[in-house]
């Protein structure tokens, strides 16, 4: 068994976060299926799954062009009405028939691609993470397609409160060695906002659950990336603040830059909120090194300190007696 997928994570392009009812409207990809809504431990909505049929070679590192046929599952999720994710994934059994079967056979196995013959696990996992050649299976395209579809929704005003860039996360889950539990082998930050995750999981792990874990990793990586960017190159200190227009009250640039983080991002950090119990320990590897939560807390502390510093003179002015 091999499970793979790709995730797009971005800020929902709206001035205000969507409430849970609007989230259900946005993610209602199907008239006859409910959007799953959850309020504990944070607000979260997840769309029904949609399927895309594929029949093409799998990407592979060694150039073996193994053809696979089946469906790729895709779904979208919205966290706290603020962060939108689309996630496409599939699972490959170790072997498959040598010829294509009637389509109905594949449709009753949603999210499964059957390889022609034997599956070269290692080569395909490499291929998926490195990205295939043109004409090879491209699940990123499917995640992109769903994101594009959602971004056209009339609920969105396309006035985001802060600047951010979408990220892509590709993942591949290889079978764990016999008797061993799940493990996170590598998390790579590549250029162009691309992240890759290589996992090992026991054979019977549900691929939808692996996708949930990777969605969670992608969400938190996006939060870190966005906050790091926001603080990177920001002019700190008490330099003379520019006046936006003559007569307007002074508003330090630092405050204007950091305020959206407080309004829209700082409450979103909640690792493992919906990750299955058996996969939750995989987070520990990232907490150990580089320390995702450690970095997040440091950034948050820095933002709060800046805001506190800027609050002091204002308070001081308030208590000053009028001349």
């Amino acid at each position: 068994m091999l499970a793979c997928g790709e995730i797009r994570t971005c800020l929902l392009p709206t001035r205000q976060a969507l409430d849970i009812r609007a989230a259900a409207q946005l993610l209602g990809l199907r008239a006859d299926e409910r959007v799953l809504l959850s309020e504990r431990p944070n607000l979260y909505a997840r769309s029904p799954e949609t399927l895309t049929g594929v029949d093409c070679p799998l990407p592979s590192a060694n150039g073996a062009r193994v053809r696979a046929v089946g469906t790729v599952a895709a779904r979208a999720a919205l966290t706290e009405g603020r962060v939108l994710q689309t996630s496409a994934y599939f699972r490959l059994p170790a072997t498959g028939p040598d010829q294509r079967r009637p389509w109905g056979h594949y449709l009753v196995r949603p999210g499964v691609l059957e390889p022609f013959g034997k599956l070269p696990h290692e080569a395909v996992a490499h291929g998926v993470l490195d990205g295939g050649r043109h004409g090879d299976l491209d699940v990123g395209l499917i995640a992109d397609g769903l994101l594009t579809r959602l971004l056209r929704h009339p609920l969105l005003d396309h006035c985001p409160p802060l600047r951010s860039r979408p990220t892509r996360l590709r993942w591949a889950a290889l079978p764990a060695h016999p008797g061993e539990g799940p493990s996170l082998e590598r998390f790579t930050l590549a250029e162009d906002e691309l992240r890759t995750v290589r996992l090992r999981v026991p054979e019977d792990t549900d691929s939808a659950e692996i996708a949930v874990l990777c969605d969670d990793l992608a969400l938190h990586d996006w939060l870190l990336t966005t906050l790091v960017r926001m603080l990177d190159g920001i002019a700190l200190g008490s330099g003379t603040p520019p006046r936006s227009r003559p007569g307007a009250p002074e508003r330090p640039a630092v405050l204007a830059a950091l305020r959206p983080a407080v309004d829209h991002l700082l409450h979103l950090w909640m690792p493992r909120a919906r990750v299955a119990a058996e996969l939750a320990p995989l987070w520990e590897a990232l907490e150990e090194r580089p320390g995702f939560t450690r970095q997040w807390l440091a950034l948050v502390q820095r933002i709060r300190d800046q805001l506190a510093l800027h609050a002091i003179p204002a308070l001081y002015r308030e208590v000053e007696p009028a001349p």
């Binding site: 008239a31 006859d32 299926e33 409910r34 959850s38 504990r40 594929v54 294509r100 299976l137 397609g145």
Partner: protein, 321 residues
């Protein structure tokens, strides 16, 4: 793993199950012109159907290994494409003719119910579940659903472009059936069309595919079953087709409407329609939980259903008008 102490019902999928027979046997699927032709057309139909019904019952009994198979019979009346007469006049006539041939209709359905049942736009929901069979070379670049109102069992012939100056016209390319065995039988099915006001009319084969899914117990709306029968109480039928429920149970002791498999006995003019139904069923992704419920229950009873939904459907075509 221990079960979580905290649960949130809106965060979990839920799908209700439906009671299931072994076989849903369709005794006819008639259009208004068949009724217009008079009672003799109905009589002729049921006389032709009778021996095949016996055969279908015997085949179902053979599959259950001697146990009494649960079999329900049904009949579909078209009130979608044309309206004729009224249930009050027509239904008693239909039942009388079936009775004369020694047949009993357990459930009566209206074709309009396959388009919209109550307030649920069933046909629209099923259309949104179409996942087109990908021709070789599809790597994730195709839109997931039929947008055009047409669904094929393969790749269409490329559109011939007008030849440009200095360039020869491209030669004609044949269409190709994806699952062809050496030679193609290519079929392109019209699922719907829209009139000038944007009003959508579903095609007969598409509604017939919805009808098959209903009989297979695979239709759900937000997890709730669709096509649950209303019992017929009292003697008379209403004057207006719209007042007749989408699915009426005429026999209080009937086995459940939905079944593991279906068999339809139809005149052979339905052959192209039912070929189209297969093309639609073969590319429709049904509710996963409903699918699992049926598979589990049938396996427990020792009569496992075929994987593919289209393979649960069978027909008898008799020579007739």
């Amino acid at each position: 793993m221990t079960e979580a102490a905290f649960r949130e019902t809106t965060a979990e999928p839920r799908t209700q199950s439906v009671p299931l027979s072994h076989l849903s046997l369709e005794l006819g699927h008639l259009y208004m012109e068949d009724f217009e032709a008079g009672p003799h057309r109905l009589r002729e139909h049921f006389t032709q159907v009778r021996p095949w019904v016996e055969a279908a019952r015997a085949a179902a009994a053979a599959r259950t290994g001697g146990r009494r198979p649960r079999i329900s019979t049904c009949f579909l009346i078209d009130d979608y494409f044309t309206r004729f007469s009224s249930p009050r006049e027509l239904v008693p006539l239909l039942l009388a003719e079936a009775d004369r041939a020694g047949l009993r209709i357990d459930y009566l359905a209206r074709e309009s119910g396959c388009a919209v049942t109550g307030k649920v736009p069933v046909a629209q929901a099923v259309a949104a579940r179409i996942v087109e069979s990908p021709p070789p070379g599809s790597y994730g670049n195709r839109p997931p659903a039929a947008q055009t109102g047409w669904l094929a069992n393969g790749e269409r012939s490329p559109v011939a472009r007008a030849p440009q100056a200095m360039k020869p016209a491209t030669a004609w390319q044949p269409p190709q059936e994806t699952a062809a065995r050496r030679h193609s039988v290519f079929l392109d099915v019209e699922l719907w069309n829209d009139d000038a006001d944007g009003h959508r009319t579903w095609s007969c084969p598409f509604l017939a595919a919805v009808w098959q899914l209903a009989r297979l117990g695979l239709l759900r709306h937000e997890g709730e079953p669709l096509f649950t029968p209303d019992a017929h109480t009292g003697q008379d039928f209403p004057d207006d087709w719209d007042e007749l429920p989408s699915l009426v149970r005429l026999n209080a002791r009937a086995d459940p409407f939905a079944a593991y498999r279906t068999c339809s006995v139809l005149p052979n003019r339905f052959l192209p329609v039912e070929h189209a139904v297969r093309v639609v069923l073969d590319q429709t992704e049904v509710d996963t939980a409903a699918l699992r419920q049926v598979a589990e229950r049938s396996a427990r009873e020792g009569v496992p259903v075929p994987d593919s939904v289209a393979d649960r459907v069978s027909y008898v075509f008799y020579a007739g008008p």
